[in-house]
Amino acid sequence: MTREEIIEKGQVVYKKPTLLNDTPMHYCPGCSHGVVHKLVAEVVEEMGMTEKTIAISPVGCAVFAYKYIDVDWQEAAHGRAPALASATKRLWPDRLVFTYQGDGDLACIGTAETIHALNRAENITIIFINNAIYGMTGGQMAPTTLLGMKTATCPYGREVSLHGYPLKITELAANLDGTCYVTRQSVHSVAAINRAKKAIRKAFEYSMQGKGSNLVEIVSTCNSGWKMSPEKANKWMEENMFAFYHLGDLKDTGADK
């Protein structure tokens, strides 16, 4: 059996989701953003929400998310996406409203907007890409940068006496009464990607069921910022990031509500 025959007669077991359009993504080779974009596109498509989705993009690497996933998008100011999402969801309660934000945007400049939107139990989902660095501006220290990790603004490594501690904002979110589902996932392997997709689907469903706010953190790599190959970055993430940012569900009250 030739390759051509398999292609002609076989079934398609995987293809790029239709909602992820053909525009080449500006992300660096191997960037986790691409995988998460695919998952978001797949879930929106599979839920049949293409015509009812309003997404909010951040400032940071994902600022141009609106160019790649074919739903309606609002591009927010740095850190303010949860405020846009709060108003949008309240004004259009039957729409699927989610933000897509990085760690600098969500856990630093937008901490207030993040915490308060989550605690108001806004029926939205926040997709949080945590790669422990500012990617877009060239690899500076983020609130989530690990101790000892070198970045452009902590070139000798993050030190408590100079920079304080890395922020586990997802743990904070899990303690808020307004949150329904808080989970930390990753996309470094097939199994992890499948789990992350299920988490995004669950979060989107809860937000449509009016169960409160949902936060899906994706511990991610920034191989350019970390100055590693994509493969090495995945390994480094497994060894270092997961030791501090434990994977799994931190809270799931959706079934009780």
């Binding site: 059996m1 398999i6 076989g10 079934q11 398609v12 995987y14 392997s189 097939v190 499948n194």
Partner: protein
């Protein structure tokens, strides 16, 4: 015995040569080109052991750019 035969089609112009699909493939079906590059200057992924592919789609699942389409056919 029934066997799954698979095939991958890589959108080589979209591929950025990150190598994650090559690492993800359990059967070493894919590899990056050695010298050949696409219009953006990237080495790109392509099948080197096409007869081996089972169509598990691991490569396509991990591809950050959605470059890979996977087909599968049951054969006797």
């Amino acid at each position: 015995m029934a066997r799954m035969k698979g095939a991958t089609v890589v959108d080589t112009e979209r591929c950025k040569g990150c190598n994650l699909c090559v690492v993800a493939c359990p059967l070493d079906v894919l590899a990056l080109t050695g010298k050949e590059v696409n219009r953006k200057g990237y080495n790109f992924a392509h099948e080197v052991l096409s007869d081996t592919c089972t169509g598990c789609a691991s490569c396509a699942t991990v591809c950050p750019d959605g470059c890979i389409t996977v087909y599968r056919l049951k054969t006797e």
